[in-house]
Symmetry: C2
Subunit: 306 residues, 2 copies
């Protein structure tokens, strides 16, 4: 095989991961349904489907030993014995760039209890990711959450692939099947497939620019000294993900009815507001700053470079 | 102490239980907030507040070993070593009719991921429960779910007290604080207090009748032979709790897009549609039949009999 044909062969294999968190069940259903409609090899694109965390799915838990979607710092990882570390290694050995069935795009499907709508999460500023994200945003106007420079939150699954996005849809309760949420995943999967085919056929035109929400950090609930939460997300803040706030806007309401306000100087957009599984991470919401990024032709060119 | 004063002393002690399921966190917050406003001894009524399942609350899980709210068959129970059995015994020893701090009303606060609104759940047809439920329905028009004659589902907490209701509010995700849900619990707690004070003052008038939804059974998801769910709640059914359905109305949608319909002869109202924690109980929804029950003066008279 010459390098050129090898490149093409690798390029078109897409890994679709659901159930990376075992209590996010709608993506698992959506992928099973998508797989029934779209054969594994569909024209120029080959799909690989996998359940990220099958044991956690079986038990209806987010994870067994640790969050799988923070377990892909494979070199840093010292917890070699635990289930998710083993599982992360297995997935990379199977489907990673040098794995048994090398995929060079990974799409990881998640749900949130927060009122985020359908959104795209990117980790860092990789050209290939920008290319796919720009095409999806152009089609649907989806918000893009660009996660970078947070030492507290590392080891995300898609970072272990040369190109990868998270699709995050909410609000939906954990372990609750919602046909509307499933439908939204199916639309995204079909569109991704269509956009990648257009890229292959060289008929893609990138939008001039894209809007991203740049991750600036996260804030915790107000807590007692013993760690108990002593303030709720304020009623004016709950369910208002992506909405820009300014100094003085309410964030929390404590048990005595006192409002705790945002004291930062810059305007910012809270996301993952009240996400149920982030309490243990000491995150009440994350804060993101709107930024415009202009497209470059390299995004498309890089997309074809392995 | 003469029997009369002893009766009065017992009558007015109300146990408010939250966190019977450890991942239903809004009632815990509501009760803490209610307790700050309403002192433990408030005119003629004494409140006792307790967390049903503190260890499960700490871990954000529904339960540790088994569902606490199915663990109050204290005589039948054979799992003496497990956490919830011990906890059920402790709660009855502390707050039961013959306990250290005898309460003769128990109000157990729950949330559901189903779109039930604010509702009252009664177990069996006890006069005292009817009395309280009728007063709340009269005030707010709340639906009453009357659970009886289900051998699969027994040992509910409030059954271990001479009078007791469950207040069930949804939809809300597990482990997600929602200030609107908390507000609804606070309204119910305040109203219960007001209604019980009116009963004490003998200024209560019962409504002529009340509407209950009588539990007729539960149905499971369609499943593969290996137990995997192979059909979702149908989009026309999801979030439509309490709505009456007839033969031929859709119930489930299987992965191939085939609709599975309701085949029963009688009109029925599904409730707890898609409740996340009931999948493990093989319940996709419960079915209830609307029934009118006429009030009797005995409901009030019995309310004062210990």
């Amino acid at each position: 095989m010459n390098p050129q044909s090898d490149r093409k062969m690798t390029m078109k294999r897409i890994l679709i991961v659901s159930g990376t968190h075992g209590n996010e069940i709608n993506p698992v259903w959506a992928v099973e349904q998508f797989g029934k409609i779209h054969n594994y090899i569909d024209n120029d694109i080959e799909f690989k489907y996998t359940i990220g965390n099958p044991l956690a799915c079986e038990k209806g838990l987010r994870y067994i030993d640790q969050d799988l979607n923070r377990s892909f710092d494979l070199n840093k990882n010292s917890n070699f014995g635990n289930y998710e570390t083993k599982r992360a290694n297995f997935l990379v050995n199977q489907f990673g760039d040098n794995g048994n069935y090398p995929c060079n795009i990974a799409i990881d499907l998640h749900t949130t209890t927060a009122n985020m709508g359908t959104s795209i999460v990117m980790y860092g500023r990789r050209s290939k990711d920008f290319c796919l994200a720009a095409l999806l945003q152009n089609k649907f106007g989806l918000p893009i959450y660009l996660h970078e420079n947070d030492m507290q939150q590392t080891g995300f699954l898609v970072e272990a692939w040369p190109c990868g996005l998270v699709i995050e849809i909410g609000p939906v309760a954990q372990n609750f099947y919602d046909p509307m949420i499933i439908k939204r995943f199916l639309i995204i999967l079909s569109s991704l497939r269509a956009e990648i085919r257009n890229l292959e056929k060289n008929i893609t035109k990138l939008p001039e620019k894209l809007t991203v929400y740049l991750h600036k950090g996260s804030i915790d609930y107000p807590r007692e000294k013993n760690g108990n939460i002593k303030g709720l997300i304020h009623p004016e803040r709950i369910n208002r993900d992506w909405q820009t706030i300014k100094r003085g806007d309410p964030l929390f309401l404590d048990i005595n009815g006192k409002t705790i306000s945002y004291e930062g100087e810059e305007k910012i957009s809270p996301v993952f507001i009240g996400e149920a599984s982030y309490k243990e991470k000491n995150i009440a919401m994350s804060l993101a700053k709107k930024e415009i990024i202009f497209s470059t032709i390299e995004w498309i060119e890089d997309f074809f470079v392995t």
